[in-house]
Point group: C2
Amino acid sequence: MCLDRPQGGIKMLKNPEDRRARRSRKLLKESLLALMKEKSFSEISVRDVAEGADMNRGTFYLHYSGTTELLQSLEAELLEELQALVDAHMQETVDDGTVRPVLEPVLDFVVEHREICSTLFASSEATGFIQALQQLIRRNGTYLVDTWFHPQDESATDYLLSFLTWGAIGLLKEWFSQDMALPREELTAAAQRMVDGAASSLFSQGRPA
Amino acid sequence: MCLDRPQGGIKMLKNPEDRRARRSRKLLKESLLALMKEKSFSEISVRDVAEGADMNRGTFYLHYSGTTELLQSLEAELLEELQALVDAHMQETVDDGTVRPVLEPVLDFVVEHREICSTLFASSEATGFIQALQQLIRRNGTYLVDTWFHPQDESATDYLLSFLTWGAIGLLKEWFSQDMALPREELTAAAQRMVDGAASSLFSQGRPA
């Protein structure tokens, strides 16, 4: 897909052409994010993004077909990293019986990428991102709910998962709107209590010990 | 704001000019909704909407400055009716101690306006509507949470409300995606259990009897 994806394995990664292309794409992403803080995505032109990265439009089009592809590429990259992080902590989370082992590194990741995350959360054009994030939470949450609560009622489980995953988006929105002032340990503990409370109450049974 | 808002009280409502104008606006809204089922809002022109309502573009512009104002007017109308419905059932809800007295008429309203609601919920351009709906739920939910749970911790309450209100949006999304197959009584009961469970668990205290 990328015009300059390395073709020859590790050695090619050191190719100066390739490194230059990766640097260009990084600069274009940073330029887009900086512009999204000032105006809405639909008002941003390829020329704006290219200028912000000290490039001409021709160079932009070597990498992306337009601003939409650039935004989607940025979102996809973030979601991929997030899923990798979740994968790395999934087993520990299952064993621990709480969301802490996965939620704390995820919140660290969000803090580390706070600029990108808060821009994407605030932008109405990036609703595709919030939907995709909700689906990521749901995919992984489904596995946890199945493992922890052994629900018998499939329809109730669908509603629970929709409630919990959109609720989690709500928690993140609140956290951003309060400039992430709440320590991540407290946010994690609050999330755990609400997830436990809602699930136990819906299934009218306690959690297996 | 409306060019043809009645100026002379009740009597003017029977003015044939005025009734014609209201009928035109209704037809334009229906035309927009029909088009939104076929294509995305940004692809819909004033000409499309006018043609769908058997009018010319000039007549459209007597009522709205463009498709965006028409969509916003439609959303605002729906939210106003919804708030009036909530107001009418608020005291009963406070007294009852459950969300049933307000949620059941709201779900009836949603079923009655299922076409508008599912179109607005599915359209990514109508995200303003979902945000506004979430804010409506939050305004009213804040009052109920204060009255029912007497929370001491303001920050925890903010997070609870964000969790619950986005969770409620999630429940509605799930309901639409399952073609409202779940009886509204069961959806109401499930919502009540999850709200109770999450709130009680977060505040680590039972509900006042």
